[in-house]
């Protein structure tokens, strides 16, 4: 516990120092923090509860669009829009989970793709709802305490708060009753039921929490882009990137998704600026290598070895 809280503190300090070290890479910083938050939120469902979703872009889209439509159509400040987005994401995930949680393994994963794709088509075609395919410009943001929310610095600190908040949530979950219920359901639903745990309810809670947190990050992402098109926000590839970040780092671990985000986003950025056309090819090779050599993810593999070493050391001495 103490270990994790120190980790959180280190993250916070590193996050606060980053803008001084890399003043001209704030966009990359925001991207890392958003992906860290998203992947950690994804991991509540995908890692801790063991239900791999490839539909989380839907919740990013909901967060971003609530902020955009709220600001442009109703002059609504983003915090109110994000609150609404949280509510909508929670309700949507509740219905979504009720519908699909009887599916397991790859079947559940396929169903998330299908639902997210249907939502993408709705976002593109129903222009009364989203502004449609031609997109929405965010042309206004409030200035609380004189802070310009369009400024990348402001967005950076918002993203930092978001990432730290999600990390704190997962640290709390990992120690709590809920966290053990999640792991029990992931490992074996029958054993979980024998311990008095309602698996469906547990998964629903995980999905709702995961979706709501993802939507919060989506709101910040919307502010950063400040021009939204459904194509890129409800995009299957974004869902895949979020899941990928979580899995590469280590599913069901506290620090895995963060490590995944730091690795993938910064590798992506370095490859982008150094290898031009070949950058995505090299990125693909990197992913494959990590999967082959660290199949439980970076932190996952580390934790497995650590637990065994700690036990062995205590048992001997």
């Amino acid at each position: 516990m103490i270990r994790h809280l120190i980790g959180l503190l280190v993250l916070l300090v590193a996050g606060l120092v980053y803008p001084w070290i890399f003043p001209s890479a704030l966009t990359v910083g925001v991207t890392i923090l958003l992906f860290a938050g998203w992947a950690t939120a994804w991991d509540i469902l995908g890692g801790w509860a063991g239900q791999v979703s490839l539909g989380h872009a839907s919740f990013v889209g909901i967060g971003a669009y609530f902020v955009a439509i709220g600001a442009t159509e109703y002059a609504l400040a983003p915090w109110w829009s994000i609150l609404m987005a949280i509510a909508v994401a929670a309700l949507l995930s509740l219905a979504w989970g009720r519908l699909t949680f009887k599916l397991h393994g790859p079947y559940f994963t396929l169903s998330t793709i299908a639902i997210a794709e249907i939502l993408r088509l709705i976002a593109i075609n129903e222009d009364w709802l989203t502004g449609g395919a031609t997109g929405v410009f965010i042309d206004w943001m409030p200035t609380p305490f004189g802070i310009d929310l369009f400024a990348r610095e402001a967005q950076y600190y918002l993203a930092l708060v978001f990432a730290v908040g999600v990390m704190a949530t997962i640290i709390w979950i990992s120690r709590s009753r809920f966290g053990y219920q999640l792991r029990a359901v992931r490992e074996d639903e029958n054993s979980a039921m024998a311990a008095g745990i309602d698996p469906t309810r547990t998964k629903l809670k995980a999905f709702m929490l995961s979706a709501s947190l993802t939507a919060v990050g989506g709101g910040i992402y919307g502010m950063m882009l400040s021009f939204l098109e459904p194509h890129i926000l409800f995009y299957l590839l974004l869902s895949v990137q979020i899941a990928l970040t979580g899995i590469i780092g280590g599913r069901g671990t506290i620090w895995g998704p963060l490590v995944g985000a730091v690795l993938l986003v910064s590798a992506g950025e370095i490859f982008r600026t150094s290898f031009a056309e070949a950058n995505l090819l090299i990125y693909g090779i990197l992913i494959l290598l990590v999967i082959l050599f660290l199949p439980s993810g970076i932190i996952g593999e580390f934790n497995r070895r650590l637990t065994r070493r700690l036990y062995a050391r205590r048992a001997q001495g």
Partner: protein, 396 residues
């Protein structure tokens, strides 16, 4: 391997170390990898041709012009990171990018940072309407393109009688550009007295248009107005013939403007009409020379994409020469006062109809005649007369 890695890590930091000696650098954000790389390649070719021309003619007031090119991986957040990076390197302006989902966020950011952006490929109205003081577009937009289509239809009406062209059916992909062009088209149809008898969007990646085309066949539209990217346009044309959907005018935007459209569709491509910002047979001085250079650089028949890449860089170079400074405000001022003639088109940035810093470019209507793209409208720039009406598929 080790060397590559070192280079990779060092590369982003190099910008600090290298002093800019007797050269002017401008930033380019372009889609070189990812889904839009097809277009990115062509734009790059066009810019390289322009770069060679600029430097052969004395560069920017004697200093060599250089491009600092960054890939945006066809995604918005990478483009924004690239802008930040380029701003840090001190470039006075940036050219970019292709998709509106990428160019839109760039425009927002650069307006905030007060840095001039010359739009490379994105044609959506939304980029320059309402627009900003810092965003300039030399190429066309949805309003201009849709206007050219309907001017052409009106012109055919004048020539052949109003009753001849009455009904329009529309078919378009669900991406930003096709939707925005279709929406503008619908407004114009209403204004100018055309009846819309069919209106269908499709999800991109669909390659079977038969159900839609069959429905249209029952409506017998005079005009079919299609907005589709390359492969969709080819599939639509092939399937129209297969289904036997005859129209007097067949307009296919974007897809039909590419040289290999004819290769992929064969003789069914004939009579298809399409609007472009540039054509190799347009009556502007220097056109032949430019076409040859573009062809050589591309290694194939050049398209409007290469031409637009060329145009964007020529506009940038012209403004930098006149500004005679790397100060962003001075460059913006110079861009504002642009009055340039190129073999692609003439450029001046105006505010009109709610647009800001938009070149009121004269778009061209091409028709494919005997497998060649030929400029047929407007009359003063035309190389040939349009063939009208399209013969029925059975008679070909």
């Amino acid at each position: 391997m080790k060397r590559i890695l070192t280079a990779a890590i060092a590369a982003p930091l190099m910008g600090f170390a290298l002093p800019a000696a007797a050269q002017v650098e401008i930033g380019v954000v372009n889609s070189l990898s990812g889904n839009f790389a097809t277009f990115g390649e062509r734009y790059l070719t066009g810019m390289e041709v322009a770069l060679e021309e600029v430097n052969a003619n004395g560069g920017i007031n004697g200093e060599e012009l250089e491009l600092v090119i960054q890939d945006d991986r066809s995604e918005a957040q990478s483009a924004l990171a690239a802008v930040e990076d380029l701003e840090n390197e001190g470039v006075p302006l940036i050219i970019g990018s292709y998709a509106s989902s990428i160019t839109g966020p760039m425009a927002q950011l650069m307006t905030r940072q007060e840095m001039p952006l010359i739009v490379l490929g994105s044609a959506d109205n939304s980029i320059t309407k309402p627009g900003s003081d810092w965003v300039f577009r030399a190429k066309h937009n949805s309003t201009i393109v849709a206007g050219t289509y309907f001017d052409y239809f009106d012109y055919l009406r004048e020539e052949h009688g109003e009753d001849d062209l009455q009904t329009v059916a529309m078919l378009y992909g669900n991406a930003a550009w096709p939707v925005s062009l279709a929406e503008t088209g619908k407004e114009l149809a209403e204004e100018r007295g055309y009846e819309i008898v069919g209106d269908e969007a499709y999800d991109q990646g669909t390659s079977d248009f038969r159900p839609i085309l069959n429905n249209f066949r029952a409506e017998e539209p005079d005009i079919l107005y299609v907005v589709a990217y390359a492969e969709d346009g080819v599939a639509i044309t092939r399937q129209m013939r297969e289904v036997g959907l005859d129209t007097k005018v067949l307009a296919i935007d974007t897809a039909a403007a590419l040289p290999n459209f004819v290769e992929q569709v064969g003789d069914s491509a004939d009579y298809v009409a399409t609007v472009v910002s540039w054509s190799k047979d347009v009556q502007y001085p220097g056109i032949e020379d430019l076409t040859n250079r573009l062809r050589e650089a591309a290694g194939s028949e050049p398209s409007f994409y290469e031409a637009e890449g060329y145009l964007a860089l020529m506009v940038a170079a012209d403004a930098l020469r006149r500004a005679d400074s790397l100060d962003r405000d001075a460059v913006r001022q110079a861009l504002d006062e642009t009055d340039l003639e190129t073999p692609v088109t003439t450029v001046a940035f105006d505010d009109f109809d709610g647009f800001k810093n938009q070149n009121p470019i004269r778009s061209l209507m091409l028709q494919i005649q005997d497998g060649e793209h030929v400029t047929v409208f407007p009359e003063d720039l035309a190389a040939e007369d349009p063939t009208y009406p399209n013969p029925s598929w059975d008679d070909r």
